[in-house]
């Protein structure tokens, strides 16, 4: 494969190809420079909605009949990083105030964030609870395979606070980059216990173990338009979540999210 012979090797004329390569680089660099500003929408009647991964099912239901909507699902922190890097989107929905704050601070989001729901963490196990988990303190048991969200994503930050306050040092075996990845490993039975959102435990049909220490720890879901003056079709998508009795509000309720009137742990973005 790599054993080529060097017989008859002669260099091709040099200038033209180098010019081509340089021209390509210049064009590409200019292109990158022009599209570098953030805070743009997509246009053309299409609406790109970036949503936290814990909203996967809700987003699917709400936009089932809106074909012009393209959902992008990832961890809130990933979405905010993508926006900062110039990803095109019209609406951002994050799973806590801190990530929305960051998007506002970085100038990726120009619209006013609105709190649409809250969620709480639960102690979840596979349906048959193979590790015999009975309470939050079992997360420090070395003989169990314990999973948490990575501290970089909202569910990991919330879990860290809750465990800190409860004085429990978890013996984690993996720090998953999204709550969905953690929930699916629990439902596959590869992990014995983990802290996921109540709604994800429900969606993945996990068993939950009573853990009163978690009840006071809520995270807030915020929606905001990327542009300061959203197009009508973008505003319609936001209304889907913010208006009383909207399809979004109904879906959030159906999947077990809490109402926005409960005060979230994270301060609302100013």
């Amino acid at each position: 494969m790599a054993a080529g012979s060097t017989n008859g090797h002669r260099r091709p004329p040099r200038t033209v190809p180098w010019l081509a390569a340089t021209a390509l680089m210049v064009v590409a660099t200019l292109g990158a420079a022009c599209s570098g500003q953030s805070g743009r929408g997509t246009g053309d009647g299409d609406v790109v909605v970036m949503a936290a991964s814990s909203l996967t099912d809700v987003v699917e239901i709400v936009f089932e009949h809106r074909e012009s909507v393209t959902p992008v699902i990832a961890a809130s922190s990933t979405l905010v990083a993508q926006l900062a890097a110039g990803a095109e989107a019209d609406v951002l929905i994050t799973a806590n105030g801190a990530t929305m704050d960051r998007a506002v601070f970085e100038g990726s989001v120009r619209g006013e964030p609105v709190l649409i729901a809250t969620n709480t963490l639960v102690l979840a196990t596979p349906a048959d609870n193979p590790g015999g988990v009975t309470g939050l303190s079992d997360l420090s048991r070395k003989d169990l395979l314990v999973g948490l969200c990575a501290v970089e994503v909202p569910c990991g930050q919330l879990a860290g606070r809750a465990l800190d306050e409860a004085g429990i040092a978890p013996s984690a075996d993996t720090l998953e980059p999204s709550v969905r990845a953690l929930a699916s490993k629990l439902s596959l039975g590869e992990l014995d216990a983990g802290l996921v959102y109540a709604t994800d435990a429900r969606a993945a049909e996990l068993a939950t173990v009573h853990a009163p220490e978690l009840e006071d720890h809520l995270n807030g879901y915020y929606i905001a338009s990327v542009s300061a003056e959203p197009r009508p079709e973008v505003q319609a998508v936001i209304d889907d979540f913010t208006k009383l009795g909207s399809s979004g509000a109904k879906a959030l309720y159906a999947y077990g999210f809490l109402g926005s009137d409960r005060r979230p742990v994270w301060p609302a973005p100013s």
């Binding site: 494969m1 790599a2 008859g8 180098w18 993996t174 980059p177």
Partner: protein
């Protein structure tokens, strides 16, 4: 590789497009270099998390490469020298991990070797061995995606070399093992080096399968690519710095290999 081509018979357009392709490969690297936080590089790379990820990465990628050689060499011989029943299908199966999205590869590994997997449940109940969320699991994931690169390279070389020399050695009274060690392997030495380098590079950069199958825990399964991915959300500068290290390590090894073991 390109040295054998008679350039005076090469149409200009081919040269052109070739260099455009080279630009496509080089451009992202240039992009990375111009965003690199050169002044804070030492402090970022000196962070204990980065060093820990580098250690895990080296252990995992080297162990995976060793596994690729030990398992891949016999497989390459079987593919090149044995009369197989469905050679095309077997060869396609060997190459599958190259096209499988790594996350799917990781999930497939969970279904097979996870604690509740097809084989994994027996490993767990008979030997108490559970691969997910361990360094060994990371090695398995990396070896799974890297193996085809080694096998395909070595198999091609074995076919090209043919078995005339082997037969000559046998005629002269050499045993099967002696022929293998003194005739066949030295003949395909460049391909062995190339295959090893490719497999190692693939294992070093492996992300999706490792994350899905082995999870992410510092000092155990968090390799440099995982560290980079998480750092991208926390501190993009650190992510760029770590990527630079990955590239530098890979480039250094590939260039060294090429100079030492591959004829130019």
């Amino acid at each position: 590789m390109a040295g054998a081509i008679m350039s005076n018979r090469l149409p200009a357009a081919v040269t052109w497009v070739g260099f455009v392709a080279l630009g496509l490969l080089v451009l992202p690297i240039v992009g990375l270099l111009q965003r690199a936080p050169w002044s804070s590089l030492p402090s970022i790379l000196g962070e204990s998390e980065v060093l820990e990820a580098l250690r895990v990465s080296l252990i995992v990628s080297l162990a995976a490469t060793a596994a690729c050689i030990v398992l891949g060499l016999p497989l390459a011989f079987v593919l090149a020298r044995r009369r197989l029943r469905f050679p095309r299908i077997v060869r396609a199966v060997v190459m599958l991990p190259m096209v499988l999205p790594p996350v799917v590869a990781g999930t497939a590994l969970l279904f097979a070797l996870g604690r509740r997997g097809l084989v994994g449940q027996w490993l767990d109940s008979w030997f108490g061995v559970s691969l997910p969320f361990t360094t060994a699991g990371s090695v398995v994931a990396a070896a799974f995606v890297a193996l085809p690169f080694f096998v395909v390279t070595v198999e091609a070389a074995l076919r090209q070399a043919g078995d005339d020399l082997d037969e000559a050695a046998a005629t002269l009274g050499a045993g099967a093992w002696a022929t293998l060690a003194h005739v066949t392997l030295p003949t395909i030495r460049p391909a062995l080096a190339a295959g090893t380098a490719l497999a190692w590079a693939r294992a070093l950069g492996e992300f999706g399968a490792t994350l899905t199958f082995a999870g992410n825990f510092p000092g155990r399964t968090r390799t440099l690519p995982l560290e980079t991915y998480l750092a991208l959300e926390r501190n993009p500068e650190a992510a760029v710095a770590i990527s630079l290290v990955l590239m530098a390590v890979a480039l250094a090894v590939l260039v060294t290999l090429r100079d030492r073991w591959m004829p130019r």
